[in-house]
Subunit: 588 residues, 2 copies
């Protein structure tokens, strides 16, 4: 090695030793005729002292150094004088008196300062080779490594095998979002990059592998939201001879191990489990943020007896009146904010309006309070668990609109009112999802998760009679309001699988063409099995408290799916396309 | 869990316990009115006994079982009678007396028996979900998991970070072998799947990550040899502030740890290091199999003094006479085998003939022996370290043909004569490769490894004067005659990098277009760095002594790059192609 120690390693105990360090010029000070340089590497920083009294030649050399030059210094470790130690640096009690200096490589003037004001993200992505030196990114990459190592250790200790599944696969049911790869050998044919290893891991269970995991790259070609990437990584798990509880318990163990080892946080397990219906009713979302309370409360039964036409008519038409109690909110949200800003906010979720009351002197106060008699006001205040100074807000609409609007409003208000600490973690399970969703546009059933979820056993007979009522043996792990994992018990009975395909209007011919090999596998002794997948990128973000997914990926892509560093995607040679038997479609 | 134990777990100490097992019906015997079934899972096999005396109903049920049905059995662990224990099974001292039997899933009649005669590989690949139950494949997947876990533990303990690099990248210098992925968002542009993370890992070094590793999927679209796959996995490593010796020492540690943990074999380290020139001279190959000796010996100096025209003329024309001593080979290779079979074998490597002698009574014996006088015969026997009964074979040609023909012949003869044990392992380093190879067809220099290898420091000045003489700071790890790893110290100086590009006739414009971001990165403080990549699939094969790469990959592809299980690659919907702005080229 060109060095004997790293820049984060030297302590008082090294004083007197002659050592070699390598790294980047991080800081530069010329002070009372002495040049000080902070030498930086991945492990820390060490102050180097170039003293004229020691060696005038080397001090001259040091004066020619510039930010981000790569140097090697041989020197003697000396204690800093009393009172001059730097508590901010782990090496702050010592410094290195330079004996020799070698410039290993020069740097052009950096495009920006690593710890100064940052330029726009696009520029930073272009200079990723430089931006990766920023402390935030290094912290993220190191934590990501530690996290995946902890995950692998956990699964290994619990008898799981990591098995690699192919990247060059076959186009799937959600084919529209597949990345395709033209085949050179098979003219006119294409591979697809996997949206998940779903079918392969089920095949591994049929093959008897019993406990599988993989930290797997997945791909989805969709228009990107801020927190999505065209390629992402998931912690993929499958187990045989299990019921739902076995998988939840296994993942409880994983999550608590990871939180303890990575963040030193002890999460009580088992993590709480709530039904889909319960969290939709109470929080308006299947991804409830439970770092705070503020449940949704239904006052339909009181409101329908009032004289307020909007409420009465809504309930009469089968809708409902639901709302939130914003503790101490009466003074915080002005009438203007409520009538304009918050109303527009819920309108995005199709709510036609936002009704509200302030609670004052044990009564409701607002322009519509007059439609509620004293007893009704009291009943509302009681049901909402409200006190003087609270603000009550309501949406009057059908169930799905109440959920969407109030679920989102609840999150917004909690953030605005700082109802939780950004360092809090709250994880829970949501179970008993519906198996199917009615797609009103296309008049057909869609799979809520995917077509391989097993219905809850008691509900299997509903496949024939009332598909909308069928609950799936599926489960989401929700952390701080994000879906952190999602899984299900799979169908291992080929007849049940065929019925679900039928319900989803996946015709037998199509099912055979697309999943024929899975159906065939189920016919040759498939064990009962189930699994789950956790989004790794999301987990790293949660652990770090970051809100930009690109800060936890070494080489991320923009929302336009471009790599600013390499310029991918890019044009290719005509010959390459000819070899692949494809051509560009003439521009329209 | 549906079971309390696995099928490999029960011992005498469990006798008397009531347990639940799940698994597949492996064997079935009806013996003296008692039905015996071997229940199989990933962990082993347990004999289940269905005794009429215990329960006639369950015995009837058991009679209806077929091979590969999936069952759950509750039963009592009982000791096998004295003398009836089965030493072949780890559970052979006990059996399970069935109390209840549940059929979890039926199986169609299996396409073949797992431990019987195997059908052709194509059929087995189609039934991969079933074939994966074979002991050989399970052993391979389990060893592969253990190997990758050991590798990760080793790098983690040595301060390396595992960092994920992108799959959707940019087309590279070897673009012709890239798999391309059309972009939907950027019309007419393509991503390329990585042939290796080479450039990304160099960028990580520039970014200060210091010690990187990754178990990375790589892709190469080439016509497949028997031991290649279109997607393969490599253990990818890069280190900063190092010289060649540091990397070799690090990998010595990895290799010895893996051999010890996985195979219980202690390899002495440091592994021996040989120069490229040395192994070419001695073994005719840069991947010498050193499990056996049989070095190539040059007898040009003796042969040129003989009266044998072919030898004399070859040496006069600048060629050489080189050969092998096949110990005890005089009786084993007949004149016919030598004149036909072996001659044809070396002809594949462009050798025009194969001369030979048998050693008898301290003299040479063959049709050309008469051209050598007694002193010459004695000198040859001495130089070849030959004894009576040995066979000496020679190629008279230029250096490269001698190397290719005799290197291959040496391997063939060692295999035929069983000069090594198939369980032996021999690993060594080959270093000091040439940096460049003269491509006679295209009259240009090609990079021996890749364009980023740093020349040996003393040779840098030859870049201007005598490029063919430049040695690279590169190294291959060779194990049992296979290239198991390959790496180099990289160029961190942008000026040297530019010179190498110039030599390789990669024009500045092209270099900027293709590697502009790397050249740019080198200008902003790139540390000295180097790395290596180990082929994981090959390592697993070596550890298992397997000779089919498809037996160490869960879902391999055929030599035609097809997945027989899923049918990938396949045709896709016209709409998918439209969305990607491409169309199929009209068939010519």
């Amino acid at each position: 090695m060109l060095r004997t120690h790293t820049a984060g390693e030297l302590r008082k105990s090294h004083v007197g030793q002659t050592v070699e360090l390598c790294g980047w010029v991080d800081k530069y000070r010329d002070h009372a005729g002495i040049v000080f340089i902070d030498l930086r590497d991945r492990y820390g920083k060490t102050q180097i002292k170039f003293d004229l009294a020691d060696n005038s030649e080397i001090q001259k050399q040091a004066r020619s150094l510039r930010y981000e030059d790569v140097i090697k210094v041989t020197g003697e470790v000396i204690a800093r004088p009393d009172g001059l130690s730097n508590a901010k640096l782990e090496t702050g009690e010592i410094e290195l008196r330079a004996i020799t200096l070698e410039v290993l490589n020069k740097s052009l003037t950096p495009p920006y300062m690593l710890d100064g004001d940052l330029p726009n993200e696009e520029l930073r992505l272009k200079y990723r080779f430089f931006d990766l030196r920023r402390a935030e990114l290094q912290k993220a990459m190191i934590l990501r490594h530690r996290l995946t190592k902890t995950v692998r250790d956990y699964f290994d200790e619990n008898g799981f095998l990591e098995v690699e599944t192919p990247m060059l696969g076959r186009s799937t049911p959600e084919g529209a979002r597949d990345y395709l790869v033209p085949s050179r050998v098979h003219e006119g044919s294409f591979y697809a990059l996997p949206q998940s290893p779903q079918i392969y891991k089920q095949i591994l269970m049929v093959g008897g592998y019993d406990r599988y995991f993989q930290i797997a790259r997945c791909f989805r070609d969709e228009d990107l939201r801020a927190d999505r990437q065209p390629e992402f990584t998931q912690i993929d798990v499958e187990m045989s001879f299990v019921e739902m509880n076995d998988i939840l318990t296994t993942i409880d163990g994983l999550v608590s191990t990871v939180f303890e080892k990575i963040r030193g946080v002890k999460l009580p397990t088992p993590l709480p489990r709530y039904s889909y219906r319960e969290v939709m009713d109470k929080y308006g979302s299947d991804k409830p943020d439970l770092r705070f309370g503020m449940p949704i409360v239904d006052i339909s039964d009181i409101a329908k007896e009032s004289t307020f036409g909007v409420f009465k008519e809504t309930v009469a038409a089968g809708g409902m009146i639901r709302g939130l109690t914003i503790k101490g909110g009466a003074d915080k949200y002005s009438r203007k904010m409520l009538d304009q800003d918050l109303k527009a906010f819920v309108a995005d979720f199709k709510a036609k309006g936002l009704a509200y009351f302030k609670v004052t002197d044990g009564k409701l106060d607002s322009s519509i309070a007059k439609f509620f008699d004293e007893a009704q006001q009291k009943a509302i205040i009681e049901k909402m668990e409200a006190e003087n100074g609270d603000l009550l807000v309501y949406v009057a609409d059908k169930y799905s609109v109440c959920c969407a609007a109030l679920g989102a409003l609840r999150n917004r208000i909690a953030k605005e009112q700082k109802l939780y600490d950004a360092h809090d973690f709250n994880c829970c399970w949501v179970i008993d999802f519906p198996l199917l969703n009615w797609n009103e546009d296309e008049k057909r059933w869609d799979a809520e998760h995917h077509p391989f979820c097993y219905p809850v056993k008691d509900d299997v007979e509903l496949l024939e009679t009332d598909p909308g009522k069928i609950r799936a043996q599926s489960y989401d792990l929700v952390c701080n309001g994000y879906e952190a994992a999602s899984g299900s018990i799979r169908i291992h009975d080929p007849k049940v699988q065929q019925k679900v395909f039928d319900l989803l209007n996946i015709k037998q011919e199509e099912a055979e063409r697309r999943f024929g090999f899975l159906l065939e596998a189920l016919r040759y002794g498939a064990p009962p099995h189930g699994g789950i997948a956790l989004g790794l990128d999301r987990w790293v973000m949660l652990m770090l408290g970051y809100d930009n997914i690109r800060d936890v990926i070494a080489f991320p892509k923009t929302q336009k799916a471009s790599d600013m560093l390499t310029g991918a995607p890019a044009e290719v040679d005509a010959k390459q396309l000819r070899d692949l038997h494809i051509q560009l479609k003439p521009q329209s």
